[in-house]
């Protein structure tokens, strides 16, 4: 999946996967009710991120948690379409929190899997080129970016995510957190997301979440971040 595809809506992406040969414009008009979001394949094996993230965590996280968001999103989209067809605005509006939660969960995890890669095989190391220049400019240094991100992750009160984002207006990099599965939207382009839900680390790290936040840098795919940055 290319980074440009990731920026489209999940529904459109699912439609594109299912019928990749069809032209984009036709897809956008016809796939809304028939196209369903589907669980994307992981670009590596479940055990490929060990010892930083265990195979058991990856399998549950992908095949169970992400799948549940996909199912919840499809159910909410269907309920919305039904309510719309009936002119039932009240029921349609009631889908908003479910669309945000499950749709956000689907979007966030789809971005997250591509932010990771096995250590030494695309994962770990350091950002390069224009991305590194931007990081140095906006965070002082790569070390600082990691420090600030880890502090933001540790400060999340409950479930949520931390994201390195690009401000679309200024082009600057900045760090934001989001509660639960709220997706990064609006003026921010998400480049790198780190999942701070307990299900992302608990089986391996239990309450020692700082160790997870420290370890995950060894499997960050800077190539994906650079691509999303527009390098």
């Amino acid at each position: 999946m290319s980074s440009s595809l990731l920026r489209t809506t999940p529904l459109l992406r699912a439609g594109l996967r299912a019928r990749a040969a069809k032209p984009l414009a036709a897809m956008a008009t016809t796939s809304f009710t028939r196209g369903k979001a589907t669980l994307p394949d992981l670009p590596y094996d479940y055990g490929a991120l060990e010892p930083y993230i265990s195979g058991q965590i990856m399998e549950l996280h992908h095949s169970k948690h992400h799948q549940t968001y996909v199912n919840g999103f499809n159910a909410a989209v269907e309920a919305l379409a039904e309510a719309e067809a009936k002119g039932d605005a009240k029921t349609a509006a009631a889908q908003a929190p479910l669309l945000n939660f499950h749709g956000g969960g689907h979007v966030n995890h789809s971005l997250f899997w591509e932010n990771l890669a096995p250590n030494g095989k695309g994962g770990g190391g350091e950002p390069e080129g224009k991305l590194l220049t931007a990081i140095n400019q906006d965070f002082g240094s790569f070390e600082n970016l990691k420090k600030q991100t880890n502090a933001a992750l540790a400060g999340i009160q409950g479930s949520g995510w931390a994201w390195i984002v690009k401000d679309k207006a200024s082009g600057n990099l900045t760090l934001v957190t989001r509660a639960n599965q709220d997706p990064v939207t609006g003026n921010f382009e998400p480049l790198l997301g780190i999942d701070a839900w307990e299900h992302a680390y608990y089986l391996q790290y239990q309450n020692r979440k700082a160790e997870y936040f420290s370890a995950i840098w060894d499997v960050i795919n800077w190539g994906t971040v650079a691509k999303r940055f527009g390098q």
């Binding site: 409950g158 479930s159 299900h199 239990q206």
Partner: protein
């Protein structure tokens, strides 16, 4: 300004006493690590807050409120939660230990099963970390959910709280949180629920004051 220091209350049962509903490993981490962290961070935040008050530093006081709410809520919620649980073989785990409350539950939800179903639906509908509570609001019972570690505040009396943070069940149930909700009913301390139902808000928070 002198402030009190909160401490971790002892569990009224052994870490393995709630097995097989809740594993020993979960209980030990939940109590000795998670709850302890809320207590430690609450004490630190209150200490800094006290300094900010002495210094008339209002911006710092405001900045500390989120930490006080989160960690104070975590301390309150877990202190109430431990007393809501009891080994399944104990007399307290029998719903017959809550005759007055049971009558009110029947009035509100038709039956204990009706209440469990409504509570289960609320618990499984939480988006992210949080808690489900049976509360007494005036003379009526209600089910409410609170996000993260927000405590039940206002006039309600918290009667029964169930922790839906993933750390409360993940090591044993993984993504199967419905099974956790199903099994926790076997270790509910109905005697505590009855006592809180008959008392007021002050009574429910006695345990917290004892940990000061």
């Amino acid at each position: 300004m002198s402030i009190g220091t909160f401490s971790l209350p002892a569990l009224p049962y052994a870490y393995n006493a709630l097995e097989p509903s809740i594993s020993r490993q979960i209980m030990e981490l939940h109590h000795s690590k998670h709850h302890q962290a809320y207590v430690t961070n609450l004490n630190n935040a209150l200490k800094t807050y006290s300094t900010a008050i002495t210094a008339n530093d209002v911006p710092s006081q405001i900045a500390l409120q989120a930490a006080i709410k989160f960690n104070g809520g975590g301390h309150i919620n877990h202190s109430l939660f431990w007393r809501n649980l009891s080994p399944s073989s104990s007399a307290d785990a029998d719903p017959a230990s809550a005759p007055t409350l049971a009558a009110e539950i029947d009035k509100t939800w038709g039956s204990l099963d009706g209440f469990k179903e409504a509570m289960g639906k609320a618990l499984l509908g939480l988006q992210g970390s949080g808690w489900g509570w049976l509360v007494k609001d005036g003379n009526t019972l209600r089910i409410v959910t609170t996000k993260d570690q927000d405590p039940v505040v206002g006039g309600e009396v918290p009667i029964l709280g169930i922790d839906m943070w993933e750390h409360a069940y993940y090591l044993q149930y993984h993504n199967g949180k419905a099974a956790y909700v199903e099994n926790i009913w076997k270790v509910i301390n109905w005697a505590t629920a009855e006592e809180r139902f008959k008392g007021d808000r002050e009574d429910a928070f006695k345990i917290l004051k004892a940990a000061l």
